[in-house]
């Protein structure tokens, strides 16, 4: 039967006599199913046949989940580029989470709080807060950890991809310049002058790549064989660039010589360096 107390409406359990919200399907005390369907006596309690805690709990879970997604996204954002424009998405998701949390509080205030007349219900409120804070803290810590790890890995792989693309483009440019050189010493001197900035850039890029591939090898041991091969190739390129820089030095020196001295210097100094460079292609990397 419905009971009114302090402007709130309740129903007595037919099984144990405990007071329950009049819309409860099961008794809070004994769990017995409540068959009566009574209209609410008081206007402060919303009429609903829905179970009392699951709605609020579901809203809280979704709110925590969205908050964790926002934190995960924000951590990725912070570990990568950190540009203000990209903060829009995590901020939006975070706002949605806050909105859901406010909805959960309203549900509590309108549907559950008015029904709290005994200590059990008040204890349940404290339990819900405790579980929410505990689960939320663990979830947010997990989101920070995963966001940071994935963001860091993404940044590392993007830098590696960009450097590999640069390495390939500069290498192609140098090869093209060398292949298009004419047959005279003057042609070669011009070619060496033109490729010098690229050789310097490739040396710098190779050094960076060797460091990055070393880190990659540690983080991705499953690709060790492939990474080792790449490191060997880049190391060979570095040696080649070292020899090319020496050839460029000889070419600069030859340029200042008289024509009759040029050939001797070319044959005596540059050709051995070129032969040494050719030998690099014969050596199989170990």
């Amino acid at each position: 039967m419905p009971v009114e107390a302090d402007n709130k409406s309740f129903a007595m359990c037919q099984s144990c006599g405990a007071k329950n919200p009049e819309y409860a399907q099961f008794c809070y005390s004994c769990g017995a199913q409540q068959t009566q369907t009574l209209a609410p006596v008081s206007g402060t309690v919303a009429a609903s046949a829905a179970p009392i805690y699951s709605g609020v709990v579901l809203q809280l879970m979704l709110s925590l989940f969205l908050l964790a997604v926002a934190v995960f996204d924000a951590c990725q954002w912070a570990t990568q580029d950190g540009s203000p424009a990209n903060f829009f998405r995590p901020a939006l998701i975070g706002l949605a989470a806050v909105g859901l949390f406010i909805a959960a509080r309203r549900s509590w205030a309108t549907r559950i709080s008015p029904a709290m007349i005994d200590d059990t219900s008040k204890q349940n409120k404290r339990k819900i807060i405790t579980v929410t804070v505990t689960i939320g803290t663990l979830l947010l810590c997990t989101a920070v950890l995963f966001g940071w790890l994935i963001g860091k890995s993404r940044k590392q792989l993007r830098v590696l991809d960009a450097d590999l693309a640069q390495y390939s483009a500069i290498g192609d440019k140098i090869s093209k310049g060398r292949n298009e050189a004419g047959n005279t010493i003057a042609d070669y001197v011009r070619m060496f002058e033109s490729i010098e900035p690229d050789v310097v850039a490739l040396q710098s890029c190779s050094s960076r790549l060797l460091g990055e591939l070393g880190d990659y090898d540690i983080e991705f041991p499953e690709y060790h064989a492939q990474t080792t091969k790449s490191i060997a190739n880049i190391s060979k390129t570095q040696r080649r660039m070292g020899l090319l820089m020496k050839q460029i030095g000889v070419a600069e020196k030859v340029k200042t010589m008289e024509p009759d001295e040029q050939k001797a210097a070319w044959l005596g100094e540059l050709v051995p360096l070129a032969q040494e460079e050719d030998k690099l292609d014969d050596n199989t990397p170990h």
């Binding site: 004994c30 995963f146 994935i150 792989l157 991809d161 499953e222």
Partner: protein
């Protein structure tokens, strides 16, 4: 179950043998058997132990060993494989949070509506794992065996939460009584 779920994810791009945890299972079984007269005892306690231990173990496994599988740049030129992997592995991991949360609220409040909520989360998890199994069967066949080992216990827990007398008496009728010692003897 959740340990297996994490290992299933782990196995996607790494061909390593997965460790089994017979000692851990034995300890959990012993703890649950000791509490079988308590309301949260027996198989119900086992459910909570395996859920929490599995969730912690799964997070550590993914963070420590398998985080690279969730990095899109790792799948450059194979974005379809990446999205299929996400579809196969991610819903199960996300639903793990909802399962842990729903089970924790249920443990704290012990109301029947939360049992209904937990059942729905378990069913959603089983459906997500079924979808994952179909994807694994076609694209990541190495994971099918581990996927099955995760999927089948999920079905058993769904059955448990529908059929268990302990669940009914602890969360619905609230009249769980320990068996008298004489009866045990």
């Amino acid at each position: 179950m959740h340990i297996l779920c994490a290992l299933s994810v782990f196995a996607t791009d790494q061909h390593t043998t997965t460790p089994t945890l017979p000692l851990g299972w034995l300890i959990m079984w012993w703890l649950c058997a000791r509490r079988k007269n308590e309301p949260i005892g027996g198989w119900l306690a086992y459910y909570y132990y395996q859920l929490y231990v599995g969730a912690i173990f799964g997070i550590l496994m993914v963070a420590g060993l398998n985080i690279h599988s969730y990095v899109p740049e790792n799948f450059s030129g194979q974005s379809k494989v990446f999205y299929l992997f996400l579809l196969s592995a991610l819903p199960g991991l996300l639903l793990l949070f909802f399962e842990v949360a729903a089970a924790s609220y249920l443990l704290a409040l012990k109301t029947w509506d939360l049992v209904v909520l937990l059942r729905r989360v378990l069913i959603a998890s089983a459906l997500a794992e079924a979808v994952g199994l179909v994807i694994d069967a076609k694209y990541f066949p190495d994971n099918v065996a581990l996927g099955m080992l995760s999927f089948v216990p999920h079905l058993l827990w769904i059955g448990y939460f529908y059929r268990s007398e302990r669940v009914q008496r602890v969360f619905k009728t609230h009249d769980w009584q320990p068996a008298p010692k004489a009866a045990l003897a």
